[in-house]
Symmetry: C2
Subunit: 339 residues, 2 copies
């Protein structure tokens, strides 16, 4: 009860007539204390309002119960869902979550990784696989599990759970080619901002190139992905001179904005123009005219990643790489969209 007014392990030890070490063992559920003593210690600890000082514990044990997670942004429901999906297993395992939003900036992520190393986390989770060799090295040599999430890694640093964005794009592209589209346009954010989006774009493009049909137009919004960005981008493409028969947008947020732009411009979807997104956000559940999109297992990805991390922390030594399936969600093609 010295500095902070909080009882310390020594206070509990004295009250229970045992050593601090026994209290430590009892509180952490380690063996080496009899059931009888353990119960007595725990009840006394509760009575005193004792909570182990995690900082001291982490220093002594040279590890913490912190999981450090970096995502580009929480504003995008995709990452919010991934993080949300991780919470439950992490909570069960008594792990706390530290979060970073890098705003798609590799240098911010890099600085954060360095900072996190100073916190001896129990594990670190980063988004995607595209980062400098220097950071990869730091993570490879880290004394804790590392998860690369959301994208599929060719050579993972350690654990990897994600979807193959190129393949998802390619599969969607093939589907669109089969439907007869030949003049695709692309609407996304500035190249380099979102490596996963670029991979999907490349997949779609490659699929269209099998029928010699490259993008006839391409708009890059210099802004965060949003309904508005999709609206503006799609509008630019629609009112442009290339008259595409299809717009592939970075994700469903943009795609929904794109549908609205079509409505505004008097274009029927998909009669006049096709609109395709990515992720399958919940919005499709309530639209009479659903988007064509790709369903990504976000929550499942978070859940699996968290479980893997927990099992690793508990001692499992398996190297895992999980590529999760992306389901193609075909939009309705019989009625028209009017928001």
């Amino acid at each position: 009860m010295k500095l902070t007014g909080q009882p310390r392990i020594e206070d509990v030890a004295q009250a229970a007539g045992v050593s601090a070490m026994s209290v430590s063992r009892a509180m952490r559920g380690l063996e080496g204390v009899s059931d009888e003593t353990r119960e007595r210690i725990i009840s006394i600890a509760r009575k005193l309002g004792y909570a182990p000082n995690r900082i001291a514990g982490s220093l002594a044990a040279a590890t913490s119960n912190l999981i450090a997670i970096s995502v580009p942004t929480l504003f995008d429901a995709v990452f919010a869902e991934i993080v949300d999906g991780m919470r439950e297993p992490l909570m069960r395992a008594g792990l706390e979550t530290m979060i970073e939003t890098s705003d798609y900036d590799p240098s911010r992520e890099e600085a954060w990784v360095e900072r996190m190393l100073a916190w001896s986390p129990a594990a670190i989770v980063v988004t995607g696989v595209d980062r400098s060799e220097a950071v990869r090295d730091r993570l490879r040599n880290a004394p804790f599990p590392v998860v690369e999430l959301w994208d599929a890694a060719e050579s993972p640093i350690d654990l990897n759970i994600g979807v193959d964005h190129y393949q998802a794009g390619y599969a969607m592209g093939r589907h669109l080619v089969r439907l007869g589209y030949r003049r695709p346009a692309y609407v996304g954010v500035l190249a380099g901002r979102d490596p996963r989006a670029e991979k999907r774009r490349k997949g779609v493009l490659d699929a269209f190139m099998t029928v010699d049909a490259p993008f006839v137009d391409e708009v890059r919004i210099n802004d965060a992905p949003s309904f508005k960005a999709g609206f503006d981008g799609a509008m630019a493409v629609i009112t442009g001179s290339q008259s595409p028969d299809l717009i592939y947008l970075l994700n469903d947020h943009l795609a929904f904005g794109g549908m609205a732009a079509c409505a505004e411009a008097g274009k029927l979807v998909p009669d006049d123009i096709g609109i395709v997104g990515f992720n399958d956000l919940g919005i499709n559940a309530v639209l009479a005219r659903t988007l064509t999109t790709s369903r990504t297992p976000r929550a499942q990805m978070g859940l699996s990643a968290a479980r893997l991390v927990v099992s690793r922390i508990r001692g499992a030594r398996n190297l895992e790489r999980v590529v999760m399936p992306v389901d193609l969600v075909a939009g309705q093609t019989t009625r028209s969209f009017k928001p």
Copy 2:
């Protein structure tokens, strides 16, 4: 360079020919080292790849650079935006974010508060003001700033930034009464799940009671708020026997689902029935037929909260309570909605 292979402060001290304390002072920008020595120390630290061990530092200083934030969920864009808004000032101040999602469960929040006390955070941020007196006491006596966010507190624990949900509801209710609506219905989640939503509901109800027009129907979805929940809830109300002339839904997510339900049921909005939400999500920017809703300054709230926290940590002793304005966003009333 002992345990973890990471250089320690002592390694830097020896390399620079000074004491560990001087390195500590130099790294933290404290006075007591000459500019010359400071630069030399910092350059050597960089050369060695030294990063201060935050855990050891936090233990010695009995405080950390951690900000602990609890929100009900990140899946709701509102909280994602609040957290996102806090990131920038926190980052600038060198503070790390620990996050908890309580899923609207007070007992989870309570347990988390106890856990966080063991981490000596620099500040703690909780959502809303409705919590047990026991938790309020713990937070009041905490040796760091506490922020209650998103709701306006009558008697704040410490800092408070939020909107007055009752007033927002009341203002919206008055607006709706003026528009001539007299048979309102409510669609929300189970009572007790979301105290802020209940306050808004009460505000709307009180406004309607000024013209003796209570809710004619009320549906409580036993599920997370989503497009789908709004769709289902609104559909239940529409197909019910009370024929409301207006549906007030918990938030914009539900309200958008509600609009879709109206379309599905062949009801014109607002000709046949009014649909009202809360928050003003970005979706309105792309809808020809916009929702009637209340605009909440989420990002601004996060930003202000973070700034306040930072200034407090830096020594300011001001007690602050900020009630932010909620703007009423009137929906278009001239054309009909068809998704």
